[in-house]
Homo-oligomer: 308 residues x 2
DNA sequence: TTGTAAGCGTTATCAG
DNA sequence: CTGATAACGCTTACAA
């Protein structure tokens, strides 16, 4: 009878009878049994730091949509930037026999351990690369940081402070390094500020501004750091030009509206899903691919531009 | 050998040998086989309108955490407020034999069809109730709306406009009705505005303000409506007092900071998970429970208060 | 064309 | 206490 349900080309006489019975009895094929038998669960795992963070929630949204169109479900797992919890989530992936995963890796991960733990499971890294041999979909972090830095330099700033949390996270690290490189190349003074958590970032920013009074512009390196900058500037009442990151929703409703470096989360997600299914569908292991998407600058007013 | 892995009380001589082999061979129990055999998948489904929407992404975050602590995975499904897509997602739940679901139902759902389709599957409704016999965790929508309306009335407003999208969504409907009831009871004039989508809401708000020039305060009924109000007020340059909904992150960084009616998403999620596991663990079907959490008013300045 | 049986990886049961 | 066996629901391969 599985014959009848699956095969559509040939129309047997019995087909109608069975299909009718299926309808009447409310029969639902047991995907668990299909998975055990067929070796594919038709589920993918999405392992992200957290989904409260508009960047990741947007990615998840797009991934879920793309996966659903292909008949796949999404198992959502978060690690909170904690390598230990990430290891647990990877164990869940293995035990659940998920067909593949999209992973934003936690800092301080045991990459060697992961490589052996994940051997045989198709993986696509998102936002942060893993190791040679794993597909990755990333922002061009350095291009993004350079573009923002140069734009601020173009406004005449000589001492700029970039702001982030947890510089051990790859994407932030890249952005910081490029910021500093671009500043040095221009003969300007880079200041780099990082806090342990976003909660304490506004305070840390205020203290840093007192310590480096010659700083004339700010460059937060994530959407949440951008939020903290706005908070801190509000608290001090002392305004400084800045460029935000990730085009968060609040960018257009604060005063002045925030010039931002935007990542296209829809494209990130689309490419990640595409690569993952390509990988899962492949017989022979194919060469790993890395896709680095360019960021674009959305000019508003917070950088000093007069709206364009 | 499953004996050895599960049983811990008795220590057999062989145990060590097998446990060692487990370690060496990197054996991972096959959850798919366990599920087929045991009849429990140790996965729950979360069916939400969308996770780009801070309210839902926060709920998902908390649910995932609570579920993980109980050894359960979360399958994330979204319907985009579309009953048809919701029906497809429910089919996924049934086929995947998920142990239970937390559901924010789409408007215009075929409740009778759902009731039969979901018979036997533990369900907890979140934010919007389903039908008699299904657990629900809700905000006290009417209390929330009354509180906000009364606060604005207390500031002396006589004509207030509430703003939302899609009034066929239960939670919005409740809030609208209570808003109008509270206004009428106070002898004030309620204006109710709703747009088809959030995208067109700012425009619709501007036109409504021209049409009803005597409106002196606004009451958006969701976090996204609150966002639209801020956008619209920015665009017109004409400021009106208002109270926001859901305490979105931007509430504190816009000028003036927004007085809001807050829902505790962590509590909503915690209760939903608790009820769901209670339901899944129960032998005999127990009576359905509805938990209605109170909202609280966070006084900032957008309502006309001088910060407290 | 249709029926039957094996096997996916577990666990529970029943003999030994 | 241990070892073999059936069953969970499905698909596929093979036999009738």
């Amino acid at each position: 009878m599985s014959r009848v349900i699956s095969r559509r080309a040939i129309e047997v006489l019995a087909e109608n009878r069975i299909l009718q019975a299926v309808e009447e009895l409310g029969y639902e094929p047991n995907l668990v049994a299909q998975s055990l038998r067929g070796g594919r669960t038709h589920s993918i795992g999405v392992i992200f730091p957290q989904i409260t963070n508009a960047f990741f929630s947007q990615c998840v949204q797009h991934i879920e949509k793309e996966a659903a169109e292909r008949g796949y479900s999404v198992v959502l797992l978060t690690h909170g930037e904690d390598a230990k919890r990430q290891a647990q989530q990877l164990a869940v992936v293995r035990r659940s026999r998920l067909d593949g995963i999209i992973l934003t890796v936690a800092p301080h991960s045991d990459l060697e351990g992961m490589e052996s733990a994940l051997s045989g499971i198709p993986v696509v890294a998102l936002d942060r690369p893993l190791w040679k041999g794993v597909d990755a979909v990333l922002l061009q972090h350095r291009q993004a940081a350079a573009m923002a830095t140069e734009h601020l330099l173009g406004h005449g700033h000589k001492e700029i402070m970039c702001i982030t949390v947890n510089p051990s996270i790859y994407s932030f690290c890249e952005r910081i390094e490029q910021f500093e490189a671009t500043m040095h190349a221009a003969g300007a003074i880079p200041r780099t500020l990082s806090a342990k958590s976003y909660a304490e970032l506004p305070d840390v920013i205020q203290k840093a501004l007192e310590r480096w009074p010659n700083v004339t512009a700010l460059l937060p390196l994530s959407n949440m750091a951008t939020f903290a900058v706005v908070e801190a500037l509000r608290a001090t009442g002392h305004y400084l030009p800045f460029i935000g990151f990730d085009d968060p929703d609040f960018a257009t409703i604060v005063d002045p509206p925030i010039t931002v470096v935007r990542q296209r989360t829809d494209q990130l997600a689309r490419h990640a899903v595409r690569l993952l299914f390509q990988h899962m569908g492949a017989e022979a292991p194919r060469a790993a691919e890395t896709i680095a998407l360019p960021a674009d600058l959305i000019r508003r007013k917070s950088c000093g531009c007069h709206e364009g």
